[in-house]
Symmetry: C2
Subunit: 332 residues, 2 copies
């Protein structure tokens, strides 16, 4: 097996740490690991493979000899540094939104469109948004069988999708409430503990940026710009694990029975058929720390022909980010 | 103003207590208040109108002289005692699911179908399910203008919809987690703190009982059995305030601009148009304790013509239960 030099950019962030754990857990063939972050985090030691790895400040010379650079440092740093890494000869796998809709950059979910990774004129492969990854893993086998016409999806997204600070804010607010204090929001535009907050970063036409990502990325990954997507993105007081309520209408015949048959053998999917047994439906708390995309409550629509409804849950830091990126590195 | 003798059955429950507070707050013309509950709760004193009211055990003689009996004691007691109250001459307004789909019982939301309350051959009027009430208050003005063809609704329901014990379980679990203990679920089929749980009480065809209520009650209240409803009901770790992500397709022309125009003057609706201003969208924490149904994020669908999407939030104990019941009593 060819061993690779792998750099993780943004190694101290929530997803960066998961990338290290995922490389270790999957025994990725590494000859060397380079942990990179902003100068502020230089010198920090992160646990890795029973030892420690020291974080280095990201700079022009950081990518010398690097084969694969996993980026999870936000869109700004990705726009600046991904071309630098690619010019130095590394294949960049970027977790930010910076390059996802660039025509010259493939957007890859290994269970769905692995072939797209080979065509990367910029030397950059984009890792999709967390909410999109779990949606397309669940829907691709159904789309291949009956062509999706329209998806209505409402999300129940965990705070960790907004990073460490958002998770800390949730826990701090729970402590404040327990002490009888009034929580003061900072990351979220309102108290997130014991509350639900509809997505607030504006995109266009009344849709949020996150919602438009789901529309555009779903079409690009499934390779079909005719698919209609109606998204509503919402944050809930969960630490890790995104849930999605999904209504899908197909152009050709489809039923819950047929969908279950297809999902039973779908790559990356764990189908839950124990509906209405206690705990039979996927829950984010159970999905956290797991690799699979959990699909449950697969049922025929009550009124629309060739339409089904399902409930899709996955760990947003793993399959929604770090795991998907490492899986891309594995298929290179 | 004619003063009435009002009985509240299930006065010690979460909704029963809200009924007392609502009667007081709205200065309902009362000549006497009778608080009824199971023998177990007899003698309990509840605060009312600056004083106290003592709970009496529900029995065959409880309804003598009672004009209006507000029931919130669950479906079993309603089936048994509502006919007793009606036979004694009281008009029963029942908050349980026991009578809602009975052809001889009107299902009433005063902003939507007040006229239905007058035709009550059994002497019983049913109060709809919380999730349905806020949905039809938001949609009725739009249905009147353009006829709804299909609704896809995903709920984010508060624990208080399952009663006191469910709210206590949420808070107990938050305390247990803060103390480093493992929460043990009892009301919910899994930990509800920091988690999301899809509705678990089976109905039919893979839909839960709660979901089927939304289908059947929406059609009955709007008086149109041809309306398609695709529901997904989910519990979130919120104390009070249900939220709903709603996609609606109309038979006739409809747009977000027209919908906002209609909703601005709709009875019982508070339209939020500050999308993407911090806190501009309705949140359950802000809706708790308020009478209105809050509607926000009204936007044209991105792909389906004559379809819009909206975000509907209301206090499930008030407009979703106690307030709607008292409003019915007011229109008698």
């Amino acid at each position: 097996m060819v061993e690779r030099v792998v750099a993780v950019v943004g190694a101290t962030g929530a997803v960066g740490r998961e990338m290290l754990r995922t490389l270790e857990k999957r025994r990725f063939p590494l000859s060397r690991l380079v942990a990179l972050a902003s100068p502020r985090s230089a010198g920090v030691e992160l646990p890795f493979a029973g030892g420690k790895v020291q974080v280095q400040a990201l700079g022009p010379g950081s990518f010398r000899g690097v084969d694969v650079a996993l980026f999870s440092a936000g869109a700004g740093p990705s726009r600046e540094w991904a071309p630098v890494a690619a010019a130095a000869g590394a294949v960049v796998i970027d977790n930010s939104s910076a390059w996802r809709m660039d025509d010259q950059v493939p957007l890859v979910v290994p269970e769905v469109n692995p072939g797209a990774a080979a065509n990367r004129p910029r030397g950059i492969i984009a890792n999709p948004n967390c909410s999109t990854i779990q949606l397309v893993v669940a829907l691709q086998p159904l789309h291949a069988a009956a062509h999706i016409e329209h998806i209505v999806v409402s999300t129940y997204q965990a705070t960790s999708g907004k990073g460490h600070a958002a998770v800390e804010e949730l826990h701090a607010q729970l402590r404040q409430l327990a002490a009888g204090e009034s929580p003061t929001p900072s990351v979220f535009p309102g108290q997130i503990a014991l509350n639900v907050i509809s997505d607030w970063k504006p995109g266009r036409d009344g849709y949020s940026e996150e919602e438009l990502k789901m529309v555009n990325e779903t079409r690009k990954i499934l390779g079909d710009a005719s698919i209609g997507v109606t998204p509503t993105c919402v944050r809930v007081p969960v630490e890790t694990g995104h849930s999605e309520s999904v209504h899908v209408r197909f152009r050709e015949p489809m039923s819950a029975a047929r969908a279950k048959e297809l999902l039973r053998s779908a790559p990356g999917v764990e189908l839950r058929e124990g509906d209405y047994a206690p705990g039979g439906e996927p829950q984010p708390l159970q999905a956290a720390g797991r690799d699979a995309v959990f699909v449950g409550r697969v049922r025929d629509d009550l009124c629309v022909p060739n339409a089904i409804n399902l409930w899709v849950v996955a760990d947003n830091l793993l399959k929604g980010a770090a795991l998907n990126a490492v899986q891309i590195a594995e298929i290179l």
